[in-house]
């Protein structure tokens, strides 16, 4: 009796595993979220509406284009398109589809410039984001 008790004690110190597993799962979930959590852009963007839509995964490194023509990658404001190009070049391994969130009153020229720079940075998959609300027009 005494022998078996001491043996089981030395082999497996009876640690309760459940709280540990709970904690680990919680931490796992927490870090998964914090990694992809929406990063607020430095300005608000009013996305255009469209009925035709595909769906893309929410990831980091989205491009925001303000109606004044300002560009930012997530929350990092870009001074000009060259800065954006260099930034994209650095991060291109992590970008699968580059999602461009352009304001509906933004100029088309800026949007195309951004797309051209992305192309130069060898990012081939591009998408224009549209409003998540239901389409109200015709």
């Amino acid at each position: 009796m005494k022998m078996s008790k001491s043996k089981s004690g030395s082999k497996m110190p009876q640690l309760p595993m459940e709280p540990l597993v709970d904690c680990v799962f919680l931490l796992l979930i927490f870090f998964m979220i914090s990694n992809i959590l929406k990063i607020p852009p430095p300005f608000t963007v009013d996305l255009p509406e469209s009925k035709a839509r595909s769906e893309f995964a929410r990831k980091r490194y989205n491009i925001y284009i303000h109606e004044s023509g300002q560009v930012s990658v997530d929350d990092v404001r870009m001074a000009d398109l060259d800065a954006m190009f260099n930034y994209l070049l650095l991060k291109k391994k992590e970008i699968e589809t580059l999602i461009i969130r352009a304001d509906k009153n933004a100029e088309h020229g800026v949007v195309v410039d951004v797309m051209e720079r992305a192309k130069q940075a060898e990012i081939d998959n591009l998408a224009l984001a549209i409003s998540e609300d239901d389409y109200k027009g015709m």
Binding site: L26, I29, F30, M32, I33, I36, L37, K38, P48, E49, S50, K51, A52, R53, S54, E55, F56, A57, R58, I65, T97, I99, A102, D103, K104, N105, A106, E107, H108, G109, V111, V112, M115, E116, K119, Q120, N125, L126, A127, L128, A129, I130, S131, E132, G137, M138
Partner: protein
């Protein structure tokens, strides 16, 4: 003995009324879990968008590209929409869907939008929406020189 139990009952009754000893820990655990769950649910919701194609970089090919070419002029004179021309005919946002539907099936593989710099992004997305719904597979952009 009797008096004692009576007193004890009194005491417990009073303490019951003052502070009902509710264990808060499981509730807080639950609330945290729910918060995390809803945060996850919103971040994993897919993001709607329209895929676009750009022509390969380098010199544009001399030969006439296949597919539809839509040209949009810069908006002039107070209007916020540019004039759209598809195959030498003017289209509007209202009839664009029908025009795309009636286009030859082999032309519907690709639409190239050639728009002026000052065209509003909203108009571009609207015309892309019509084209996608009419069955155009790929949409690309070319810059007006």
């Amino acid at each position: 003995m009797q008096a004692h139990t009576h007193e004890e009952q009194m005491v417990t009754e009073r303490s019951d009324r003052r502070a009902p000893n509710v264990d808060m820990t499981p509730m807080i655990d639950c609330v945290f879990l729910l918060i995390i769950f809803f945060m996850l649910a919103t971040t994993f919701a897919p993001l709607p968008g329209i895929r676009v194609k750009l022509p390969p970089p380098g010199q544009p090919s001399r030969e006439k590209p296949k597919g539809l070419i839509l040209r949009i002029s810069n908006p002039v004179g107070g209007s916020d929409e540019g004039v759209m021309i598809l195959n030498n005919e003017i289209v509007s946002l209202d009839n664009a869907f029908g025009v795309f539907m009636n286009a030859a099936p082999e032309a519907k593989d690709m639409l190239i939008i050639q728009a002026g710099r000052q065209v509003v992004h909203d108009q571009i997305v609207k015309i892309m929406d019509r084209a996608k719904r009419a069955g155009v597979v790929k949409i690309g952009f070319a810059m007006v020189q």
